[in-house]
């Protein structure tokens, strides 16, 4: 039986011209696990662009591989283990739900290096990385407060995890720094990715009287609705200007590529070590899409805020900040620990919504 299988394998390899890449031995392998489709136009596509950037920058020294549409759960563990066995040297797992699977496989393969996006469990060969999206959301909030005539913005949210709650709060803080009475309406779409639902949520918010939209879901549907209804909006994850050339003010663009290149270089020169990395605007892990469809003074303000955040002069979460019910959270000048932000489960004053618990 075994002979037969080997014979079959050999003939298949000959006939099909399939060879198991023998010359790839000297190159290091960097592998990616995606939760969605690599052309989803949002989260996963941003990671895919990062991988392509890595290919371009270090293609002579590394080879990259990826698996897309990997469900969170036991399938993820298998997919990650497959890469570990395929002799990948560095594996990026790009969704929060891959956390435990990554931890398990990392324990089994101590010689392989792992990096898990947006999680909080680390190991000697497992680093975590995340992006300070809230810095971009603060700038968006300021722009919204300047551009909104009614003083109300709408926020299409996905799921009430700290990442999203933090974003909502940062947006409101930015808006209040310009207009202390600014209100924010939130609708939970309960999905990361459903154009129909996102469009419905956008319409509901517009019908409730908001005149600026921002989203923490991944399709361009809300941007399309905003441009149809003639209001302004912010893009998410990638530059969505094509969906709303007259609508998009700016977008938070995930530029993971810079990070992937940095870490792969560390792998190549042997300086890679397990860290819990939370990079921001200054590190280039996220960038702001060009400020468009706004007057020059608003643009100047946005650029100034961006520069201040990059230089470290401004931290969006700087006290005094009250919680939604009016009780004090941060004293004047106080800044929260990163751990507090990463576990954020309450709104600040001014958010017009009850946080789902």
């Amino acid at each position: 039986m075994k002979k037969l299988i080997i014979a079959l394998a050999a003939s298949a390899a000959l006939l099909g011209g399939f060879s198991s890449g023998a010359q790839a031995q000297e190159k290091k392998k960097v592998c990616f696990i995606y939760v969605g489709s690599k052309t989803d136009g949002g989260w996963t596509q941003a990671h895919e662009l990062g991988r392509q950037q890595l290919d371009k920058a270090l293609g002579d020294k590394v080879e990259t591989k990826f698996l897309e549409n990997v469900p969170e759960g036991p399938d993820a563990e298998r997919a990650i283990e497959r890469f570990a066995r395929e002799k990948c040297n560095l594996i990026f797992t790009t969704s929060f739900g891959f956390m435990d699977a990554t931890v398990k496989v990392a324990a089994k393969f101590p010689d392989v290096k792992f990096e898990h996006a947006t999680g909080f469990k680390a190991a000697p060969n497992l680093a975590t990385y995340n992006s300070r999206f809230y810095e971009g959301r603060y700038i968006q909030g300021q722009i919204a407060a300047k551009m909104s005539k009614k003083g109300v913005a709408g926020y299409i949210a996905s799921f009430p995890i700290p990442e999203v709650v933090m974003g909502i709060n940062a947006f409101e803080l930015g808006a209040k720094s310009v207009n202390p009475n600014f209100k924010l309406k939130v609708v939970w779409a309960n999905t990361w990715f459903d154009p129909g639902k996102e469009a419905d949520a956008a319409k509901a918010l517009i019908d409730q009287g908001v005149d600026i939209l921002t989203q923490h879901t991944d399709t361009t549907a809300p941007m399309q609705v905003a441009s149809e209804r003639g209001i302004l909006a912010f893009g998410q994850a990638s530059d969505m200007i094509a969906a709303g050339p007259k609508t998009q003010l700016t977008a938070i663009v995930d530029t993971w590529g810079n990070y992937y290149v940095k870490r792969t270089k560390a792998l190549l020169d042997g300086s890679w070590k397990s860290e819990q990395i939370w990079d921001g605007l200054k590190d280039g892990i996220l960038t702001m899409a060009p400020y468009t469809n706004m007057p020059d003074d608003v643009k100047a303000m946005a650029e100034e805020t961006e520069a201040k955040i990059k230089s470290g002069e401004l931290h969006p979460f700087t006290g005094p900040i009250n919680k939604q019910d009016g009780s004090a959270w941060l004293k004047a000048g106080e800044k929260p620990q990163d751990g507090v932000l990463l576990g954020m489960n309450f709104y600040i004053e001014g958010v017009d919504d009850k946080l789902p618990q």
Binding site: A9, G16, S37, L67, N69, P71, D100, I161, P162
Partner: protein, 362 residues
């Protein structure tokens, strides 16, 4: 040209054996053509798909992990479908079974006893059965179509799990992320061998399949299932109650789906989270039909379907064949199996224009 069918007097044993092989052959041929169109080496692709995953020990384990829930759910469904009860909500029963089975480890994480695991499995089965009891009750009491009620309950179960893990059952130390605490060691279904991840769910699946095969083959209950499935009237004349059969088959399939749910959570995941199943409950319907609603056949079909998932992944890595192509390939396999099954019950004739009848298949 026209195709005509003629019912065979007796189910053809010959074609029972040939039909799945023919379907596989057709899938291989069409699959090779499709890969060729996509610019991939046809034979190499098929090799990566169907042979490579079988050559390594770890990947055989993965095959068992993937096949276990499919087989468990599908054998339960086969009894439903044989008796003409169309439970298509196994996905929901899987979810509820996972939830009720997780009550102990989530609420009593400090309880370290060997008793916890059997209790979890039993509670999972009760949960799944109870959830399947809703469409059963609605069908027997109000004559409501179980296809639709069981399907609607899938969405509700998913949202309920979502609410639980984001709300009351969320791990307080988990940075607010939507997962429960990791189960204590005693609550994790052990692996069968040291060489890989395959755990006890696969054994449950084999036991369930063999037990139900025995029931269908040798017990009065099995006979009742087939008679009532073929004709409710005939069953009534024989003194069998269709109403009791609704309850029996729905509770049985619900319990097995629930067991699949809790074993998956306990053995493969280790905690509850919003997404615990990549559609096992629906895929199992296909597995049930591929196995021709025969519990032993379902073991084979469950393994074949699991193989297409593993193979699809391997092909993505080795040949960069997108996962959509993998799904098209799965769809093709299903269509060929379903059409080839016709040969078992019918003779097929190609009737050419004019009255020239030409027998193509005997």
């Amino acid at each position: 040209m026209r195709i005509e069918l003629e019912k065979r007097a007796r189910v053809s044993t010959l074609f029972s054996i040939i039909s799945p092989l023919l379907a596989l052959l057709l899938t291989l041929v069409f699959g090779a053509v499709m890969f060729w169109f996509l610019g991939k080496p046809p034979l190499g692709s098929l090799y990566v798909y169907f042979i490579e995953p079988l050559l390594e020990v770890w990947s055989l384990h993965e095959l068992a992990v993937k096949a276990a829930p499919l087989i468990l759910i599908a054998v339960g469904l086969s009894i439903c479908y044989r008796s003409n009860n169309w439970n298509i909500g196994a996905e929901g029963q899987f979810t509820i079974g996972a939830i009720t089975g997780s009550i102990l480890p989530v609420l009593y994480p400090e309880w370290h006893s060997w008793a916890i695991l059997p209790l979890m499995m039993i509670m999972g089965m009760i949960g799944g059965a109870a959830y399947a009891a809703i469409p059963a009750l609605l069908k027997t009491r109000f004559n409501t179509n179980e296809i639709l009620t069981s399907l609607m309950l899938v969405y509700i179960a998913g949202l309920f799990l979502d609410w639980l893990v984001r709300g009351p059952w969320r791990d307080p130390k988990g940075y607010n992320f939507p997962v429960t605490k990791s189960f204590q060691v005693e609550a994790v279904l052990p692996e069968i061998l040291d060489s890989g991840r395959a755990h006890w769910a696969f054994i449950f699946a084999l036991v369930a399949a063999v037990a139900l095969w025995f029931m269908m083959r040798f017990m009065l209950k099995g006979f009742q299932v087939s008679v009532l499935g073929q004709s409710e009237r005939a069953g009534r004349f024989a003194g069998f109650s269709a109403r009791r059969m609704v309850w029996f088959s729905m509770l049985l399939s619900g319990a097995l789906a629930g067991l699949a749910g809790i074993s998956e959570v306990s053995g493969s995941i280790g905690h509850l989270q919003p997404a615990i199943s990549p559609g096992y409950g629906f895929t199992a319907i296909i597995v049930a039909f591929l196995g021709r609603l025969n519990p032993l056949g379902i073991i084979a079909s469950g393994l074949v379907l699991a193989l297409t998932y593993l193979g699809g992944e391997a092909a993505q890595v080795a040949l960069e064949i997108s996962d959509k192509a993998a799904r098209v390939f799965q769809g093709m396999l299903l269509f060929f199996v379903l059409s080839c099954d016709t040969l078992i019950h019918y003779r097929i004739r190609l009737v050419l224009a004019g009255n020239q009848t030409k027998e193509v298949k005997a």
